[in-house]
Symmetry: C2
Subunit: 224 residues, 2 copies
Amino acid sequence: MKRAIVLLSGGLDSATTLYLARKQGFDCFCLIFDYGQRQRNEINAAKKIARLAQCHFHIIRIALPHKGSSLLDRKMRIPRHLAAMLRNHNLIPTTYVPARNIIFLSLALFYAETIKAGAIFIGAHIEDYSGYPDCRPEFYRAFEKVISKGTKSGVEGRRISIETPLIRKKKSEIIRKAINLGVPLGLTWSCYEGGKVPCGRCDSCYYRKKGFKEAGIKDPSIRS
Amino acid sequence: MKRAIVLLSGGLDSATTLYLARKQGFDCFCLIFDYGQRQRNEINAAKKIARLAQCHFHIIRIALPHKGSSLLDRKMRIPRHLAAMLRNHNLIPTTYVPARNIIFLSLALFYAETIKAGAIFIGAHIEDYSGYPDCRPEFYRAFEKVISKGTKSGVEGRRISIETPLIRKKKSEIIRKAINLGVPLGLTWSCYEGGKVPCGRCDSCYYRKKGFKEAGIKDPSIRS
C-alpha cells in the first residue's frame, strides 16, 4: 500500500485533505505540529481526527527561537476580519508565521524519506485564505525542486510529490467535498483564538462561516 | 549593523563560517540544532564557540518522528571511511540525515524573517564531503527560490540570501582560512561517534585528519 505524509492542523482543510488522501488509496501518516501556537485546541482536534480516521500520527514539538506572529505571541492582537480588510488591504496579516509551511514540509520530507512515502499532502488553498505566500502553487513547485536537488530520494530519482488537492478550491467547495467524504467536521477547529468556543471574528472564523453559508450547510462544530 | 543567521554545528566548517560572517560585518545570530544526534559533543562545542565569539545563540530542539540515519540511531553502525569507500562507491552513506539542511534552513528562515536578517550562513562544501545532496550549490539555489516564492520577505522584495562561503573549498583551504581568522579550532568537534575523544575512523574524522595533513597544520583538538 503506497504511503503518504499528511500535514494535519486540526482545521477543516487538512481534515478533508486526509480523507481525500485515504480515498486515493494512501496509507496515511499524519504529522501534527506543536510549534508554540497560542491556541492549543487545534492540536487536540488533529489528534481526534487522526484517531477517528485510524491513521498513524505523530506530534512534532518545535521550540521556535522567537515569537514572530500574532498566532504565537499572546501579547499581540489577532486581527478581526473586517478590520484587517479595511486597514491592511493587500498586506499580509500578523497571523503569518514566517516560513511555517516550509518548516512543516521539511519535517514531512524527513519523515517521507525515512518511511519511503511518495507523497506529502497539505491542505493549503489560495482562495478564501489570509494572503500567506506559503499557500501559493508557485511556492509548492519551488519546494518540489528543493526535494529533487537536496534529498537522497531526489538525486536517486524517487519522486516525493507535494500534493495540494484543495489549492484552487473555495471554502464552500471544500466543505461540500468534506461532507461527501464523511469528514468529521464537528471535530475540526479553525479559530485563531484559544477560547472554549470559536471567537467568530478572526480571519479563520470569518472564512469558515462564509464557507458554510455559501455551501448552505450548518457548521456542526457550532452549538446553537 | 546588518544581521545574519549562522548555522553552527560545532564542527570546524561552521565555526569558520561564523568567523567569516563576522569579518564581513554581520551581527551574527547562531542557531544550534539538537535534533537527537547520538553524539552530543558537537552541541557543547557549538555553544562554546558562540560564547567565545560573543555572538547571540539559540538552541532549537526538534524531536524527529523517526531514526532514519546512523547519526541518530545508536543501533546502526557508523561507517568507517575506507569501508564506506570500498563498499558504497557512489552511494550516499548511512550518516545522511534526510532533509537535514532543508529543516535547518527552514528554521533559520523563520528566525531571519522575525529578526530581519538578510542572510543565512551555512558551512556546507562539496569537496571532501560525504556525498550529501543537501551540500550542493544547486540545492541552495533551489532553496533561495523557495524563499522568494514562499515567504513574506520574498514576495515583498526583501532578499534573504543563503551564503555558502566554503562551498567550493577543500578542507585544507578551510583550515588555513580558519587559522587566519583566529577560529578556535581546538574547540571544534567533527567526529560522528560520541566518545570522549574523536574516533579517528569515521568519515568526518577521516576528512578532518586529511585536511590538517594537507594544510601542514597540527590539529589542536588532538592531544598527543
